[in-house]
């Protein structure tokens, strides 16, 4: 079972893992660097998916959970689709490696700015319940 108390700490580190893996894979472009980067990605994606699902279900009111999950999916995917379209446009003018790293840095900064609010709400709810 996912450790409910340690989860927020790992969740905060998720984009840094992704950024590190991106830099390793793009800068070296060898089979071994790709595998190392992929391992780091795998761990980061695990905490991203399980963390989002767990934190999302805990902090959302029961009556709104379906709507918030669906809204989250629409919003997140659409924003990333727009970024993806932008990516294909920009790589016509810039090297794709530079573009990938720049977008990853942007994502990491965004995570640092926004992650405290949901994690605080999650930790408060876990504390108020005592234990699950």
């Amino acid at each position: 079972m996912t450790n409910v108390k340690l989860l927020p700490r790992f969740y905060k580190l998720v984009p840094f893992g992704g950024l590190l893996a991106t830099i390793i894979a793009l800068s070296l472009q060898t089979m071994s660097s790709l595998l190392l980067a992929t391992l780091i990605f795998g761990v980061s994606i695990y905490f991203f998916r399980v963390g989002t699902a767990t934190i999302g279900q805990i902090i959302t009111d029961k009556d709104l959970i379906a709507e918030s999950i669906i809204l989250g999916d629409v919003f997140t995917r659409f924003v990333n689709f727009v970024v993806g379209i932008g990516f294909f446009f920009i790589i016509k003018f810039l090297d794709y490696k530079i573009v990938v790293i720049l977008i990853s840095i942007l994502g990491t900064i965004g995570n640092v700015l926004f992650v405290d609010q949901p994690i605080k709400a999650y930790s408060d709810l876990i504390k108020s319940r005592g234990s699950l």
Partner: protein, 276 residues
């Protein structure tokens, strides 16, 4: 052995887990498409474009999903989506050699996958209404199982693309989808009774407005988007990196793609086993 028997004997949880076969079959189809596109575009951009189409389709599915979930009440929707998936996957194997029909099939398959994902989250909350611990455990198990299939899908896809005829691939994919369909039929028995009395809201967007006003939900979605920048951009660029490592050889790139996908899944599963 006793714990495995106990796990298998929990039909409710087992059925939930078996619905992941639907994702498994779709993962094989997506992998099949990725490898096929490596053969016709040696820059890797066409394969990367599939990731982008996936994002668009899942985004669209979020707009359609609420309407479908309200009108088909979840469990019926699971059955319906599995049936539509069977047809879409069958059509994919008929038209896969033409680029535009291939992209269209991939959009439809991703669209269904997005609705299934929303539907799964909706049903799980209802089934484990008063048992948060069971809910979290099932959630964890469901995601690990999904990733396990993501681990097997590239290997299966690679074998199917390189060593089998398309007919065999089609049969394997449709069989997996059929298992998911049967699982949804079993799962329907556990549908909470009070769900059938749910009224269709007069103003369907009222709850969405309430969700938007929830500060925690808004910030969590901003975090998801920010993390998505990191992960999705990498996923789009990965085929280009793989092609660069393979020095534009389609056969070698398909091997590297398989290794990459498998390693990613192993890392995910090990994280769940040791760090979770």
């Amino acid at each position: 052995m006793a714990s495995i028997y106990k796990w298998l004997n929990n039909k409710k949880r087992l059925s939930i887990y078996l619905t992941t076969f639907s994702n498994f079959s779709k993962a094989v189809v997506l992998y099949f498409a990725t490898i096929f596109l490596y053969k016709i575009d040696n820059s890797g951009a066409s394969s990367g474009f599939l990731v982008l189409l996936g994002l668009l389709a899942v985004s669209l599915s979020g707009m359609i999903a609420p309407f479908l979930i309200i009108h088909f009440k979840g469990f019926k929707l699971g059955i319906l989506l599995s049936m539509v998936s069977l047809v879409a996957e069958f059509l994919f194997f008929i038209f896969y050699q033409q680029k535009i029909p291939l992209y269209c099939c991939i959009v439809v398959i991703n669209l269904i996958q997005g609705i299934e994902s929303a539907n799964y989250n909706y049903e799980l909350v209802d089934i484990f209404e008063n048992d948060v611990e069971d809910q979290i455990q099932s959630n964890n198990g469901y995601h690990i199982l999904l990733q396990t299939f993501t681990l097997i899908a590239p290997i299966l896809g690679y074998l199917l693309v390189n060593y089998c005829i398309v007919l065999a691939s089609c049969v394997v994919v449709l069989f997996l989808q059929l298992v998911a369909l049967i699982a949804w039929f079993i799962l329907k028995k556990y549908e909470p009774l009070n769900k059938s009395n749910v009224d269709i809201p007069k103003y369907p967007f009222k709850n969405y407005l309430l969700a938007i006003k929830n500060k925690n939900v808004v910030f969590l979605n901003l975090v998801r988007s920010a993390n998505g920048f990191v992960f999705n951009t990498w996923e789009i660029a990965a085929p280009m990196v793989i092609m660069a490592i393979a020095e534009n050889q389609a056969q070698l790139s398909s091997k590297i793609q398989t290794t990459y996908e498998t390693t990613l899944s192993i890392a995910f599963i090990l994280s769940g086993a040791f760090l979770g």
